[in-house]
């Protein structure tokens, strides 16, 4: 497995798709702080400080930016083995398909950790440039830790989507859009079972995010229900992994040929 993770990491060299995560997570604190500026002065929070900015970043990352980025990147990592026709080379090493997918998930998880750390840095930078008060080592450690923890739990929630859409040729983009909608749905669960057990809510609850303070939850979330939601996601991931098989088109260049025809058509226009 170590070999798988190491080689998956090497494959990321010069990959432009990583820019999706880098740009998205840089946008998050800017958008969150910007949204504070554009609301009416009467409802603007006069005590908006680093703690608030970090909380908004945790929320924004889990609701929008990380689901899009992680499913797109993770899905692409799986999809590329078919589109770049490298699956045949891997399977004839031979590499276990299960381990290959596991390696890709592990690397996406590692990326989520790095994105979390990067998000902390960008948040500190944005808050500092905006002149927000309340930046202390304790805030960075506690709130920053929550950003990183939420990135990891959000990754766990995204795993089934990465596996499903990564294995459907060219569907990772659609998968990331669908995951964005699923993430956005946290907004609608303010109480009851789904407040805690809905996987994206569970990701926030387990990261220690205050759902009542920042999500407008009308009751305190339940940790056991959040754990149940997260366990369900992990079980689903394991089931998908167990039933995953390499595409029967491993070694097929049909897609490339189609591209060639498209190019030929373009040339003739």
């Amino acid at each position: 497995m170590k070999k798988m993770i190491q080689t998956e990491w090497w494959k990321l060299r010069r990959c432009q798709i990583l820019l999706v995560g880098i740009v998205a997570l840089a946008l998050c604190p800017v958008v969150q702080y910007g949204s504070q500026l554009i609301v009416n002065p009467e409802i603007r929070d006069p005590n908006f400080d680093f703690v608030h900015l970090f909380a908004n970043v945790v929320w924004g990352n889990t609701q929008v930016f990380l689901p899009i980025s992680l499913v797109m990147i993770g899905g692409w990592l799986i999809d590329r083995e078919n589109t770049h026709d490298t699956m045949k080379n891997l399977l004839t090493v031979p590499v276990s398909y299960l381990k290959l997918l596991g390696g890709k998930l592990a690397v996406t998880g590692l990326l989520s950790l790095l994105f979390g750390l990067y998000s902390v840095a960008v948040t500190v930078l944005t808050g500092t440039l905006a002149g927000l008060p309340g930046l202390t080592p304790g805030v960075i450690l506690q709130q920053g830790g929550q950003v990183v923890a939420a990135a990891l739990t959000t990754f766990l929630v995204c795993m089934p989507m990465i596996l499903i859409f990564g294995q459907m040729r060219g569907a990772y983009l659609g998968g990331s859009i669908l995951t964005f909608f699923l993430g956005y749905c946290i907004l609608f669960f303010k109480s009851g079972f789904l407040l805690s057990a809905y996987p994206f809510s569970a990701a926030l609850v387990l990261a220690g995010f205050d759902m009542q303070e920042y999500n407008g939850a009308t009751e305190a979330p339940s940790i056991p229900l959040a754990l149940l939601g997260m366990t369900a996601v992990i079980v689903l991931t394991a089931v998908i992994l167990a039933f995953s098989r390499p595409s029967s088109k491993a070694g097929s260049t049909k897609k490339k040929k189609a591209g060639g025809r498209r190019q030929a058509r373009r040339k003739t226009r």
Binding site: K3, T7, W10, Q16, H84, L91, T92, P94, A250
Partner: protein, 307 residues
């Protein structure tokens, strides 16, 4: 056949109603180059994919190195180097970086494996050029480097000269021959280019519409190739009558008013010409023709030729 490295029995692949490969009994012997010859779509690639476990056969068995492939993939596949269809690599990485990935997965620690493989195919080691910027020929060379990097005992190469320029083709041909002759590798290669197979292979399998029509050594095939004596005379029907009635020759075919062919090669050509002249015929040509491998291919596939 004894000493078989690859042996298949009744290997069949169906896609729905369509039969891609039908009851294939293939025998690749140790230390020899086996050329699988067939038109595009004849079933060569499907066969090779089944030999590598990339495609699951509908029925039949594959035995490689004396073991059934199914259930022994981890023992068998590391001893094989392969190139199936077009080369497949990560476009964002250089050639060396691409090979590093597969070397790591194969547990090859020394960089000499990569260096040696790249040198063999005349590609630079640690070059900064990314795979996406490679020409088709360079891509093909890199794929060959990947196939030989781990010093496998058996090479399965599907159309290895695709995309190469004439010099590259000659180089790869020499390289494949040397792998077999000098390093004792067993090589199964496929091609739709008959001349390439004829130049390289020791044994030839002819596949058409998924059926293996012939499997013989090149020497045996050459022996089987028909030899025909062709005469151009002033009156072919009269000449044919002379051959049949006076010289007892049976296989005479009158092709036109002036041309006839004889398949009986025990015929004394000089005596036949002398008899024609004595009978007042003008003999303008007497020539021995040998069927080419292409003629043979046409004859056994019962149809068109091949590239």
């Amino acid at each position: 056949m004894s000493d078989c490295i690859i042996e298949t029995k009744g290997l069949t692949k169906r896609y729905g109603e369509q039969v891609s490969v039908s009851s294939l009994d293939l025998h690749v012997q140790k230390g020899r180059i086996y050329g699988l010859l067939g038109r595009n779509g004849a079933g060569k690639t499907t066969t090779m994919k089944m030999l590598l476990g990339l495609t699951v056969p509908t029925s039949g068995t594959v035995t490689i190195f004396g073991r059934p492939l199914k259930g022994n993939e981890k023992r068998v596949l590391p001893r094989i180097g392969s190139l199936i269809e077009s080369p497949g690599f990560y476009p964002n990485l250089t050639g060396t970086e691409n090979l590093q990935i597969f070397a790591r997965l194969r547990g090859l620690k020394s960089p000499n494996y990569i260096k040696g493989a790249l040198e063999l195919v005349n590609l630079p080691y640690r070059d900064k050029k990314r795979y996406a910027q490679y020409s088709l020929g360079m891509k093909q060379r890199l794929a060959i480097a990947l196939a030989v990097m781990h010093d496998p005992e058996l090479l399965i190469l599907d159309e290895p000269i695709n995309g190469l320029d004439p010099i590259g083709i000659a180089e790869v041909r020499d390289f494949i021959r040397a792998l077999c002759d000098e390093r004792g590798k067993t090589i199964l290669l496929s091609s739709h280019i008959l001349s390439e197979i004829a130049l390289l292979a020791d044994d030839i399998g002819i596949i058409d519409h998924g059926v293996l029509l012939e499997e013989e050594s090149l020497a045996e095939l050459e022996q089987k190739n028909g030899k025909v004596l062709r005469f151009t005379v002033s009156n072919a029907p009269v000449a044919a009558q002379l051959l049949q009635q006076e010289m007892g020759v049976r296989d005479v075919v009158v092709e036109s008013e002036q041309a006839l062919t004889v398949r009986n090669l025990r015929l004394d050509t000089g005596a036949a010409v002398r008899r024609f002249v004595e009978a007042g015929l003008v003999v303008s040509d007497a020539h021995l023709y040998e069927d080419t491998l292409e003629d043979y291919f046409k004859r056994i596939t019962g149809g068109e030729g091949i590239a």
